[in-house]
């Protein structure tokens, strides 16, 4: 479930590598193509709405996400349905807490975690891959061998050890996960860099005496942006999925904070006890978000990859 999209991204990488770098007009072209892709645009709109929901939700909610409605506590199945009257727009959870406020809170955490995790993976992966690709030779082969070795370590194993050691902080967990999810990124970026580094403008930079690291940062990385953006949109949903897995193990975010994964896990457990809304609301947001990310990712790939229209 965590190993998808390799082929597509690699293909894109190849294609991008073959394209001449045409400056701004390529981006404008891409933007135009993207805006014509209805699915991708819809995805973007939905994502925008969900971010908006997470941002202004706390001001709309009638309850705080950690407050217990003592009058309804323990009566979720019979009296906890979604209701405008008592302020529980999404109903309540098993303990009598407002599910609307909790879904808002969960959205914040899940989006945050997805973004941070992906960001870390992207930053490390890009710098690592660009360095390896640019310097080439022995540096490259040592760096990429290291990636090969790290890739063969079962991912889940690390995840569980990280949970055990950093169990108390969700942010730390995701820095950890982000830090081991950069491998794929590094590989792709390196491949890209190999094709970029022989370009005239790089040679010109070298000739004018710019220091190697500055070349990597100023001239190589910006030209990798297309592939990086596409890959990042695919990493975010991966991170959100990973978070839900951690929540399933009961090792995720600490109460009373929550996440989509934690809410879904609770809801799935009580699915057959007549409190279906506890599953449907968080699950709806979860699926809508991931779906949107995939469509946006696909749209971006199509847009940035003119060959495949």
């Amino acid at each position: 479930m965590l190993t998808h999209k390799k082929t597509n991204v690699e293909k894109l990488a190849e294609n991008l590598g073959n394209e001449p770098i045409a400056g701004r007009s390529l981006w404008r072209d891409a933007m135009h193509r993207f805006s014509r892709n209805k699915a991708a645009m819809a995805g973007l709109v939905v994502l925008g709405l969900i971010v908006l929901f997470a941002a202004i939700g706390p001001f709309v909610a009638a309850w705080h996400y950690s407050d217990i409605d003592w009058s309804l506590m323990g009566n979720a199945a019979s009296a906890g349905q979604p209701s405008i009257a008592n302020g529980h727009y999404f109903g309540i959870d098993d303990l009598g807490r407002d599910l609307f406020a909790r879904t808002v809170q969960g959205s914040q955490i899940s989006l945050l975690v997805g973004t941070i995790g992906a960001l870390i993976a992207v930053v490390i992966g890009t710098l690592y891959g660009a360095t390896a690709g640019y310097f080439g030779g022995r540096v490259d082969s040592i760096m990429m061998r290291t990636v090969d070795i790290l890739m063969s370590i079962p991912y889940m194993f690390f995840l569980i050890l990280l949970l055990v050691m950093f169990g108390r902080s969700i942010l730390l967990i995701f820095i950890g996960i982000g830090a081991i999810s950069w491998l794929e990124m590094a590989r792709i970026v390196r491949g890209q860099t190999l094709s970029i580094k022989n370009k005239e403008y790089i040679e010109a930079a070298i000739a004018s005496g710019v220091r190697p690291f500055k070349i990597v940062l100023r001239h190589v990385v910006p030209n990798l942006l297309g592939v990086v953006i596409v890959y990042a949109t695919l990493l975010v949903p991966q991170m959100i999925l990973t978070e839900s897995f951690i929540s399933f193990l009961g090792l995720g975010v600490q109460e009373p904070q929550t996440s989509w994964g934690a809410l879904i896990n609770d809801g799935a457990g009580t699915m057959r006890y007549g409190t279906l809304w506890q599953l449907m609301f968080p699950l709806g947001f979860f699926i809508a978000t991931l779906l949107s990310f995939f469509f946006v990712g696909d749209g971006l790939r199509d847009a940035l990859d003119p060959k495949d229209r």
Binding site: L2, S152, L291, F294, D298
Partner: protein
């Protein structure tokens, strides 16, 4: 070619050694140990336990003993938790279970995924395309731990067709639900890969030529397009296979099939060091082997690739 294969194998062995060492040290840095219990064990007894399992020695020494036993006797040691079982016993009983329903999960995922992908490609950018892709993605993003109870609700409680869990030596009715629950998470990837490679093939010159010649479209799809479009799917099966084993963690614990996934998660939670190491080595070896095979096959197909 032969040299290339040799070199890959030569790299694989130190890779595995590094993997084992890193895991070993990481494992020992986790709080608690296999004999951490609610009732503190008397110091004298604890000493005996530690001596029995070599836990009183420095970690690097334990590591070398461990590797030595594997290399010389293929002995992965006894489970720290299940005293009448060796790690090999557990792997031998658990791995076939995971492999069996994993295989059927694959058959399911490839069957549905390829169909959805082909439909999406043929009806590119239509409602059918979006529907197929959405169905596939919903299957992928619906976490296993939601999928599994939904399946149980439908097939066990409402329809009463299938048992809700267990393995019973692998009778067919016990395989179906775990296979579907696991398969849905790979279905989407397969559908998406199929879709894009199918699109590419359909736009290629030889398909255009075939169409220009006036061959029936259906015939072109079956005879000319499908096969090349499947190549990327086949190469995806390697990493997906490893992902499947990790995905089995949830499936095994929900359906209690006794598969390898549950040994892994319980091993980590119980700090059953020997089991964690055993499963890690198994997974690591598989991952390395599959990566190697993929590389070798690619090198064989495309001589331009140089490593």
């Amino acid at each position: 070619m032969f040299n290339f294969v040799l070199r890959r194998i030569a790299v694989a062995i130190p890779t595995l050694l590094i993997l084992v060492s890193v895991s070993f040290f990481l494992m020992f840095s986790a709080p608690g140990g296999p004999f951490t219990s609610e009732r503190p064990i008397p110091a004298a007894v604890m000493e005996n336990i530690n001596a029995k399992y070599n836990l009183d020695k420095p970690v690097y020494q334990q590591l070398s003993i461990y590797i030595w036993n594997i290399v010389t006797e293929f002995d992965f040691g006894p489970s720290f938790r299940y005293q009448d079982r060796d790690v090999l016993d557990l792997i031998q009983s658990g791995f076939p279970v995971t492999l069996t329903y994993g295989f059927w999960a694959f058959v399911f995922a490839v069957g549905i995924g390829v169909s959805l992908g082909v439909i999406a490609a043929l009806k590119h950018n239509t409602a059918a395309d979006y529907t197929a892709v959405s169905v596939a993605i919903v299957g992928q993003v619906l976490p296993n731990f939601v999928m599994a109870p939904i399946l149980v609700l439908i097939f066990v409680l409402w329809l009463g067709w299938l048992p809700g869990g267990g393995w019973q030596g692998g009778q067919i009715e016990y395989i179906i639900l775990p296979a579907i629950a696991l398969g849905t998470s790979f279905l989407a990837s397969i559908a998406r890969i199929t879709r894009s490679s199918m699109l590419e093939v359909l736009n290629s010159n030889y398909i255009r030529t075939a169409r220009a010649k006036g061959l029936p479209f259906r015939y072109i799809i079956w005879r000319h397009a499908l096969k090349p479009a499947m190549l990327p799917v086949v190469s995806y099966l390697g990493p997906a296979f490893v992902g499947m084993i990790t995905g089995s963690v949830i499936i095994d614990s929900y359906f209690t099939t006794g598969g390898i996934g549950v040994h892994f998660i319980n091993g980590a939670l119980n700090r059953d060091y020997a089991v964690i190491m055993g499963v890690t080595i198994l997974l690591g070896t598989l991952t390395i082997t599959f990566n190697m095979l993929v590389d070798i096959i690619y090198a064989w197909i495309d001589p331009k690739i140089r490593y």
